[in-house]
Amino acid sequence: MKLLKLVPDNTNIAFLKWRNIAVAISILMIIGSMALVAQRGLNFGVDFVGGQMIRTTFTQTADAPITELREKVGALGYGDPTIQRFGQPNEVSIRMKLPTGADQDPELANTMADEITGMLKADYPDVRIDGVDSVSGKVSEELLSKGVWSLVGAMLAITLYIWIRFEWQFGAGALFALFHDVALTFGFFALTQLEFNLNIVAALLTIIGYSLNDTIVVYDRIRENLKKYRKMDIIALLDLSVNETLARTVMTSLTMLVALIALIIWGPDVIFGFATAMFLGVFIGTYSSVYMAAPILIWLKVGPDSFVPPEAAGGQAEKIGGSEEVG
C-alpha cells in the first residue's frame, strides 16, 4: 500500500511573489466586509438584541405554513415576526423583537410569548413547541458586551503571548491576520444574513484559535529558518518556510474540513451557523497565515538579528543545520 501524499515533496512555490496583490485584495475584502456590515447589518439573534424566539415543529404537516404564520403572528399586534425554516421544512423558528415598553416591564415580553404560543396551539393542533428563547433588553446588552470583550480580549491576549514567545513584529503580524479573519467572518454573516447569535461568537473565537494555530506553525518555522540560514534573503526564507509547512497546512485543514462537513450535513440544526462559520474560517485562517501574517514580517524588517540572544540562536542553528552527521 502506498501512503497518500497530498503535497509533493520539496515544493518550491513562490507564495510571497503575490504578496502585494494578495494584501491589496485582503484589504479590499476587509473594507468590503465592513461596508457590508454597515449597510446590511448583522441578522442578530435574540441573544444580542433581546426578544423572543420560539422554535416549533408541525408534526402532521409536511411544510410549515410560513406565510399564514407571518400574517397570524403579525395580527397579534406585536410587530412583524421573522420566520425562518431550520432543518426540516416542517420546522420553523418565529422571532419577535421586544415589545415597546418591555424595558420598564419585562412582563410584556412574557405576555407576548404566551399569546403567540397560545395562538399556535389553538390554530394548529399538530404544532409542537420545541423551545423558547426569551431575552430581555438588559441581558442582551450584557451578552453583546461580553461577546465583544471576549473577542477583543482573546485577540489582545494572544497577540501579547506571540510577542513574548516570538518578537513584536510577529505579534503585530498575528494581530493583523486575526483582524482579517474576524472582519471577513463578520462580512460573511452580513452577506448571508445567517443568524448571528452566541454560538457564532464561540465560532469566531475558535476561528481565532485555529487561524493562530496555523500562523504559529508558519512563524515557528520562520524563526527556525532565520537562525539556520542567516544570510538568506527574507522573501526567499519566508517562501521556504511556507513551503516546508505546506504539507502539514493542507493535511490539517483537510481534517478540520472533514470533521466540519460531518457537522454541517448530519449535525443538529441549532449549530448549523456555527459549523458554517467554522468551515469558512478554516479557509480564511489558512490564507491569512500565509498572506497576511508572513508579508507583514517583511515590512516590519524582520531579519536574523530580530532574535536577540545569540548564544542560544547559534547553538540551535548548528545543531539543526549540521547535515554532515547525517548518514
Binding site: E107, D133, L205, L260
Partner: protein, 534 residues
C-alpha cells in the same frame, strides 16, 4: 528516543486507564451504572438543558424595590412606635421621597424623646456595629431618616438570600426533579429545571411575590375619593378587580391589619357553601392570636384580603375566628388556588422578581440534538481516522489510537469535574478530533521531512518530535487563551463548548505527543526498522 524507561510506560498506562475508567459511567446513559460494584466510579457528566430538555430562567430583582419596601416598613414602624411611646409622640407631614423618610415632630419638646424611639429602629442587627440608617434633625423638629449604603447593601443581600430559599421551596413543592437554584451576582437568581412539562406555570409561580395581608376596610371613606385613588387620612387605596360594588378600588385602614407571613400551612379546598375553590390557611401560634384579636374586635365589619397589592376579596367578619385557620376566597380556578397555596406555603418573596432571560428546550428537540450530534461525531471521527491511516500508515494508526484514548479522557475529566455537556460541547468534541490530529500531523510531517534530508530512522523520529513540540506547545497555549476567554465571558451552552475545548486541548497534547511517542519508541526498540514507511 529509544530510551523510554519502564516507570514512564507504567505511569502513562495507569493514567490512561484511570481516565478511561472515569469515562465509563458517562458512556452508559441512564441508570445502569448504578448497579455497578461500589469500587467503580459513579461520577458522570451532566447533560446540559439544551440536550436533556428543560428550562433555564434568570430572575432579577430591582434593588430600588428593596429600598422602597424597606422605606415603607420603616415608615410603618416609625408610625407605630411613635404612637406606642409614652407619652405618645405626635408626628406629621410624613413623606417618602428620593429614598429618604422625613417627618415632623409636632411638639418641639419631644424631639429628644423621638430620637430615643428612633435610635433602636435604625441600628442594624449585625455585629459590625454599622448603622443601617442615618438620622438627621433639620430645622429643630424635622427628622430625616436615610438609609446608609452599607445598610441597603445588606438588606438587598438578605432579601436575595431569602428569595433564593423561597424559590427553592416553591420549586420543591411543585415536585420537579433535580432543580438547580443559584444566586448569581448581587441581584439575580438562576433557576434551571430539567425536563419540565409546563414552563409557563413555573414562571407564573416564580413571579408571584405572595405577600398576603389582612386589613380592615375603611367603609366610611367617600366612594368618589376612593374611585379617584385619593385615600382618607389613615387609609390606603388598593385595586379590587372583583369588587361586587363595581368600584375598581377599595380603601383600607393603614394600621391594625396583620400580614400573612406567619403561616404554618396552606392548601387548596372548596368553600362549603358555594363550592368555589378557596385556599385554606393555618396561622402559627403568634399569627393565630393576632388574627383572633383582629376578628374579635371587628365582628360585623369587612376586612380585605390583599395579595401582592391587589385585593382578592373583602368578606364580612361574621364571628371571631379563634382556631388559627382561615379561608381565602377570591375568583380562583382550582389551579390558581393550588398555585397560590404553594406560594403561601413557601413564604413570601421579600422582593419582586422578574424573568429577564428564559431558555426552554423541549425534550424532543434535546433528544434529536443528541442523536444528530452523535451521528455527526461518529461520521466525522471515522472520516478523520481513515484519512490519518491512509496518509501516515502505522504512524497514523498510532495517532488514531491516541485520538480514541483522548475522547475517553475528555469524558473522564469532564466526569471528574461533573462538567456539563451541551450541544455546542458536542461540536467542541468534533472540533477537538479535527485539531487533536494536528499535533500528529505536525510531528509526522516533520519526520517525513527529516527522512528526506537523509536522517536515520531513529534520529528522524527524535528530531520530528522535538522540533514539532515547540509549535504544538505555542499553538495549544493560544487556543487555551481563546478557550478561557470564552469560558469567562460565555454563558450557558457556549460555556459547555469552552469546557470541552480546554479539556480537549490539555488531554490531546498528552495523548497526541506523549502517548504516541511512547508507542513509537516501544515499536522502534522492538523492531529496529531500517526504513520508515511514513
Amino acid at each position: 528516543m529509544l530510551d523510554f524507561p519502564r516507570w514512564k510506560v507504567i505511569s502513562i498506562s495507569l493514567l490512561l486507564a484511570f481516565g478511561v475508567l472515569m469515562s465509563l459511567p458517562s458512556l452508559f446513559f441512564g441508570e445502569s451504572h448504578k448497579y455497578w460494584p461500589a469500587f467503580l466510579p459513579d461520577e458522570t457528566i451532566n447533560l446540559g438543558l439544551d440536550l436533556s430538555g428543560g428550562s433555564h430562567i434568570l430572575l432579577e430583582a430591582e434593588p430600588a424595590d428593596v429600598a422602597e419596601t424597606r422605606l415603607q416598613t420603616m415608615e410603618e414602624s416609625v408610625r407605630a412606635e411613635m404612637r406606642r411611646a409614652n407619652p405618645r409622640i405626635n408626628i406629621g407631614d410624613i413623606s417618602r421621597r428620593d429614598g429618604v423618610l422625613s417627618f415632623m415632630v409636632r411638639d418641639s419638646t419631644q424631639v429628644d424623646a423621638a430620637r430615643d424611639v428612633l435610635e433602636p429602629l435604625t441600628t442594624g442587627a449585625g455585629l459590625t456595629g454599622q448603622r443601617d440608617w442615618d438620622i438627621e434633625v433639620r430645622d429643630d423638629t424635622r427628622f430625616v431618616v436615610s438609609p446608609t449604603s452599607a445598610g441597603l447593601e445588606n438588606a438587598v443581600d438578605n432579601a436575595m438570600d431569602t428569595a433564593t430559599d423561597v424559590i427553592r421551596r416553591r420549586i420543591d413543592e411543585m415536585g420537579t426533579r433535580e432543580p438547580t437554584i443559584i444566586r448569581q451576582g448581587d441581584t439575580r437568581i438562576v433557576v434551571q429545571v430539567p425536563g419540565l412539562e409546563d414552563p409557563e406555570a413555573l414562571k407564573e409561580l416564580l413571579g408571584k411575590t405572595a405577600k398576603l395581608e389582612f386589613k380592615l376596610v375603611d367603609f366610611e371613606a367617600d366612594p368618589n375619593a376612593i374611585a379617584e385613588g385619593r385615600p382618607p387620612v389613615g387609609s390606603q387605596v388598593f385595586p379590587y378587580p372583583d369588587n361586587p360594588s363595581g368600584l375598581p378600588n377599595i380603601a383600607v385602614k393603614r394600621l391594625g391589619g396583620i400580614s400573612g407571613d406567619k403561616l404554618t400551612d396552606a392548601g387548596q379546598g372548596f368553600d362549603p357553601d358555594t363550592n368555589a375553590p378557596v385556599v385554606n390557611i393555618t396561622f402559627d401560634t403568634e399569627g393565630g392570636a393576632k388574627f383572633a384579636r383582629l376578628t374579635q374586635n371587628n365582628v360585623g365589619r369587612p376586612f380585605a384580603i390583599i395579595l401582592d397589592g391587589v385585593v382578592l376579596s373583602a368578606p364580612n367578619i361574621n364571628e371571631p375566628i379563634l382556631g388559627g385557620s382561615a379561608q381565602i376566597s377570591g375568583n380562583f380556578t382550582v389551579e390558581e388556588a393550588n398555585q397560590l397555596s404553594i406560594a403561601l406555603r413557601s413564604g413570601a418573596l421579600p422582593v419582586e422578581l422578574q424573568v429577564v432571560e428564559e431558555r426552554t428546550v423541549g425534550p424532543d428537540l434535546g433528544a434529536d440534538s443528541i442523536r444528530k450530534g452523535m451521528i455527526a461525531a461518529i461520521i466525522g471521527t471515522a472520516a478523520v481516522l481513515a484519512f490519518m491511516v491512509v496518509t501516515y500508515g502505522r504512524f497514523g494508526f498510532y495517532a488514531n489510537f491516541a485520538l480514541a484514548l483522548n475522547l475517553f479522557l475528555i469524558l473522564g475529566v469532564m466526569a471528574i469535574f461533573n462538567a456539563t455537556l451541551t450541544l455546542p460541547g458536542i461540536a467542541g468534541f468534533i472540533l477537538t478530533v479535527g485539531s487533536a490530529v494536528d499535533a500528529n500531523v505536525l510531528i509526522n510531517e516533520r519526520i517525513r521531512e527529516e527522512r528526506r534530508r537523509g536522517r536515520r530512522v531513529v534520529q528522524a523520529v527524535e528530531v520530528g518530535y522535538k522540533e514539532a513540540s515547540r509549535a504544538i506547545f505555542d499553538a495549544n497555549i493560544t487556543n487555551v487563551i481563546a478557550g478561557l476567554l470564552l469560558f469567562i465571558f460565555g454563558s450557558g451552552p457556549v460555556r459547555g463548548f469552552a469546557v470541552v475545548l480546554i479539556i480537549g486541548i490539555v488531554t490531546s497534547v498528552f495523548t497526541a505527543v506523549v502517548v504516541t511517542r511512547m508507542l513509537v519508541a516501544l515499536w522502534l526498540r522492538r523492531t529496529r526498522p531500517q526504513e520508515l514507511f511514513i
